[in-house]
Symmetry: C2
Subunit: 587 residues, 2 copies
């Protein structure tokens, strides 16, 4: 039906006859001529219909978004009319025939960034015609292509694992699928292919990957989707470095292939504890040139319990954040920051404006300066490197809570002042604690998942001090987003049993839920490890989109609905009955 | 942990130190030495542990399937011991160190083709260690790789469409997923991405593909899986030839890339009616050199109502099948064939053995020869090209039923006599009827699906004689298997409405089920068409496996169960309650 794509008609084709198909992006009538911007996936080309042309009568009927086929000849525009912003900007196509393939009713949305989320999703097929969305979808497709190419070169085999499977142990709620053949029983949709990929290592498949759909029936938050996509990988006979090298090669190649961006040759690494100490986050955005500094040793002695108490307690801390130029913050801005950190558990936010860094305590403006002596201030000033015109914020209290709210403050002030440097800052975070203690439930939780190997040599070493145990897990962080996470897995049955025990998973429960895994570990399971990447997030970062919804062709709303097709929806009662179920009357 | 893969240690490495990881495939103790076959994904290498080696004590503990790491030196074997069947057959690795990575309990299965289906699936992770299964999985991975490469070169964009979606219209039963956020409402798992891919064409995405998981809650037949994988494609601004050319390029490249097989440069084509006439099947296996021949005109006049009746009725037929060499069939064999065709609706099976093709009726042995005259027989003989030693089978009656059972007989006799010629016989089947009339329900059904375009120019032409209308659908058949099916779709709203009407889908129902599609067709929908391939089947054909289960890593049983993980299974009542559902008491 066509000889060329619209966006590919360039000056080299001048004089040639072409057939083009596409949509009327814009129609202008000018000096008796009709000008069409004809659009397809490759771009837009200008089509001219001259008044004496046979095509003129047909062209007069065209409106925006009509779908047409054009026969015409490529002609150079006069040089004064060249548009160098477009690949097709030096030519136009003089139409000899205009065939209407399909008319269009007036569009129900503006097709600009002004359109609201709901109407964009309801008419997604129109929203996706926009250049921004076309580009997003192609970035995603190219990202997949790059990933697969790299992995195949590295000897990975692509696998598919089941979607209809058994409840998985990631901790979130599973989507359940009732069985008609086995009424009253349910499949679960996978939260990840974790156990299957480990089984494939036990199969000797050596290097597995899958671009896998995963599902979580979570209470919905801003940018979560009920179904999302992971790049899932697993390798046998590797240690942490082996997995991380592979992951880096993959990400580096993807950014080069898709965006022509060169990422650092080696990604920096940070132990989890250092990340919390210095950035108050397990996913620091290293583009921001701000760090938290512990000032405990300088304020232990001061007569200010809010500081001296935490400073003398190993489970607490006093953390300072220097914000360059922050002395200009108004009282109102400081109040807003105080409010902001209170959402993350801060009971207050101390601050010192440094109006003159050369005059010691004299040069400070602060409600708390009066509690400090020269020794304290000179210690703080040296540790933070504070300069005239800066502000220092202080958080004090529980180590985790304080680190976290100060980390949030770091990001917020950094963004507000537009301090980010560079475009891309990847980072490995490593050495996570093996377990988190939950005071409410009085038990340990796995910080990664229960198949992550501890750094301990054997079960006895692990059990001796579980709280101190570090895991062999690692996260890959990009610009403050966790884009991947993985670990070396447990490959010995005794260690797996010990971890289940520490997590309070009794033998019966372990047998029922993971019996097949424990059984599989009996038969020469190789050492193995892997990683999973959040592909939606990586694609969104590449596309410069804040929301993953803009890199998913047909996303759900924040209430897990597809407003385009109207899902979920009611079904005939007979279908429910066949599943061995009954609808409960509505409350 | 390793410097090489086991299967890659060849003579070029002689004299070098290597580290290898893998499994003990076999251990032999011979002349004081220990020989290990060490296996990984790349193959097997012979490891020797000499009695004076430090590694000897460790090696003595090894049993089959123990997972080990070997340090050693590559040494040429004496030429008399070369095994040219193995890439590693000229060398051996003299171990200097043997590190046990993990022991193995004795295996619960034989790891041969003797293992039953149930135990293979329960211990799938062990079953997948077999070379046959390793090869199958790699064939599948390479098939995907080839497909994606071809499609990207042809300008296709890869998309993901939702798994949690609305009931789809393919006709089989949907798997339903209850919503917790919207109790009493359900998502459906897609039977195919059909509507989404059409919407993407309306988005101007132009060329879409996806390797897509699909789901059907069907009553289970021999080689069906509840979840299966399609290569799904769609193109804008194409006709049948455009889609078929692309599909052929894809399949041809896949066979070349994966199997190094050259398929024909152009696949033959057969109209559906001719396929039924000549092969009694809409998916003929062209490797079999047998055809059905209509002999109606030769038996119209005979005094044998079983033939003369159908021969004179346009809705019936008399079909003959010549089986070369079939005169040797025993009475018992013929009875078995008669039994066989009765399963497909045959009321009987007439036959003629040709003991001498040169003596007319005299040379025949048959219960029905007495009803034939010379004219009838010479007509039949000429039409079928029968020769001495052949048998002719005859079916008579309803055109569809007769074609079908004679087609089944064609395949059965052809396979029994091992008549297949050549390895690969692809074929396009085209020109399907648009509708099938269901006498019981007194209504039309869509032969493909309700979005397939008819060959008619407009709705009025279609409605004038729906039974005579042909669709713009096409199937790709390989060796008697339908490996792909597709069509040019309806792109005009008035035609889509007419087809819904003919299918007895009322306006309200159409609006409720497909309202979004009808709406989308208003906005300049381009002409488009596509195809979907059954990837499991293609992989199985490539691997030479009769069952698709052997090219799926973790398949379900014929009762839709995963015996490895025990899915489906019961879930806590609270989870069911949260979905707004209750379990019905068991009957």
């Amino acid at each position: 039906m066509r000889t060329h794509l619209c966006g590919e008609v360039t000056a080299e084709l001048a004089g040639q006859a072409v057939f083009l198909c596409g949509w009327v992006d814009r129609r202008r009538d000018l000096g008796g001529l009709i000008f069409l911007g004809l659009r397809d996936r490759a771009g837009i080309v200008q089509v001219v219909i001259e008044p004496d042309s046979d095509a003129f009568a047909d062209a007069e009927k065209l409106r925006n978004e009509f779908c047409v086929r054009i026969e015409g000849e490529v002609r150079m525009r006069p040089e004064s009319q060249w548009n160098e912003n477009m690949a097709t900007g030096r030519i136009e196509v003089v139409a000899t025939n205009v065939e209407l393939l399909n008319a269009s009713a007036p569009l129900p949305l503006l097709m600009t960034d002004e359109d609201g989320e709901e109407i964009r999703l309801k008419y997604r097929y129109l929203d996706l015609r926009r250049q921004r969305m076309q580009r997003n979808m192609r970035i995603r497709s190219e990202l997949n292509h790059s990933i697969r190419g790299t992995l195949r070169e590295l000897g990975f085999t692509e696998f598919e694992t089941p979607i209809l499977t058994k409840a998985t142990p990631e901790g979130a709620r599973d989507y359940l699928v009732p069985s008609r053949v086995h009424p009253g029983e349910f499949y679960a949709l996978p939260q990840s292919p974790q156990l299957f990929k480990q089984l494939l290592m036990m199969s000797g498949m050596d290097r597995y990957y899958q671009i896998a759909r995963c599902f979580r029936d979570e209470d919905l938050r801003a940018d979560r989707q009920p179904e999302f996509t992971q790049l899932d990988m697993e390798m046998s006979f590797v240690d942490e470095q082996g997995v991380q090298d592979t992951a880096e090669a993959l990400v580096r190649a993807a950014f080069a292939d898709v965006l022509n961006v060169e990422l650092p040759a080696e990604f920096p690494r940070l132990a989890w504890r250092d990340a919390m100490e210095r950035y108050g986050s397990d996913k620091p955005d290293l583009r921001l040139p701000l760090q938290l500094v512990s000032v405990d040793e300088h304020v232990k002695h001061v007569d200010f319990r809010v500081f001296s108490g935490p400073a003398s307690d190993d489970s607490q801390r006093v953390a300072a954040l220097r914000v360059p130029g922050g002395a200009q913050f108004s009282r109102k801005q400081i109040d807003e920051y105080t409010d902001y950190v209170s959402r993350y558990g801060a009971k207050g936010l101390a601050w010192i404006k440094v109006n003159d860094a050369d005059t010691g305590l004299e040069g400070l403006q602060s409600p708390i300066a009066k509690f400090l002596d020269d020794a304290a201030w000179s210690g703080i000033a040296a540790a933070t490197g504070v300069q005239t015109g800066d502000i220092l914020f202080f958080g004090a209290g529980d180590w985790g809570v304080t680190s976290t709210f100060m980390g949030q403050l770091l990001v917020k002030t950094g963004r507000d002042l537009d301090l980010a440097e560079g475009d891309w800052a990847p980072l490995w975070v490593t050495d996570f604690p093996m377990f988190e203690w939950d005071g409410d439930e009085q038990r340990y939780f796995a910080m990664h998942h229960p198949f992550t190997a501890p750094n301990d040599a054997d079960p006895a070493a692990l059990k001796a001090d579980p709280a101190a145990s570090l895991s062999r897990g690692y996260d890959l962080v990009l610009n403050g987003n966790e884009i991947g996470g993985g670990s070396i897995r447990i490959h010995r049955q005794d260690m797996q049993a010990a971890v289940f025990e520490l997590l309070g998973i009794g033998e019966d429960e372990a047998q029922e839920k993971f019996g097949f895994l424990l059984e599989a570990l009996k038969y020469g399971c190789p050492p193995h490890g892997g990683i999973a990447f959040g592909l939606d997030r990586i694609a969104a970062l590449m596309a410069g989109e804040p929301s993953i919804r803009d890199v998913i062709a047909f996303p759900k709303t924040t209430t897990a609905q597809c407003v385009l097709t109207d899902a979920p929806s009611a079904v005939p009662a007979t279908l429910v009955d066949e599943l061995g179920l009954a609808l409960k009357p509505k409350a």
